[in-house]
Amino acid sequence: MQQTIDIKILNVRSEDQTEILEEMGNYLYDNGYVKETFTNAVIEREKKYPTGLEIPTAVNVALPHADIEHVNKQALVIAAPKRTVKFKRMDAPDKDVDVGIILMPVINDPEGYVRFLSKLTLLIQKKEFVELVKGKKCSEIAASISEQYSK
């Protein structure tokens, strides 16, 4: 059975990559989604295996995440900082990409999450996704993803 995946769009104040990841991680910890070790695991993983992606059709994104043992309940946290933030590129870790939207997948069941993620990767390439994030339209994002599920 498909676990429900909560979607939250977070206001972040920081402008620095690590501080933003901390803000997002703290939200997840405070709300019981992750274990105390999660935030640090995300930050360390991002240094080792960066997740910045160039999205030529919309806004560049990053998908920072951690191993499943740090997660209690699945979620997706989205943040659009006031200014773009530099991340290293997933496919070229020595290169920077200016990221406008950070998506933090919180996964403890990769098999169950994969369909959600697969739809999400298509959604983030559409211009309307940027508007949905800016307008904090979580339910529309969820609907758009689940609508694509049934197709």
Binding site: R45, Y49, L63, P105, P110, T121, Q125
Partner: protein
């Protein structure tokens, strides 16, 4: 003809490798490649797995891999992850498998 043997590697074998696996299975099916061995591991394990098990190709979605001296052709899995440019990506994979005599 022995079946194609493909390794998929990502940082934690949780997110991107799973995502790539489902798209790769679909893409292989579309190319008429039905019988294959597809395995997932962490990038940190890839060098050793390739050395020991000798897959035909490896697809990697995390970290820098070009300089790691991996003993098989290595491709970036980002097209599979994003679902963009999958056809061009599959052309390269199929060509590499052909070179190994694993697809007609």
């Amino acid at each position: 003809m022995a079946k194609p043997f493909i390794y998929l590697a990502c940082g934690s074998a949780a997110m991107s490798a799973m995502l790539c696996k489902s798209r790769l299975e679909e893409a292989l099916r579309q190319r008429g490649i039905k019988d294959y061995d597809l395995r997932i591991c962490r990038v940190a394990e890839l060098y050793e797995n390739v050395r020991r098990l000798k897959p035909d190709v490896a697809i990697v979605t995390a970290g820098s891999f070009a300089e790691k001296d991996i003993e098989c052709p290595v491709f970036s899995g980002v097209p599979l992850m994003m679902g963009v440019g999958v056809d061009a990506f599959m052309d390269k994979i199929v060509a590499a498998l052909k070179e190994k005599g694993k697809v007609p």
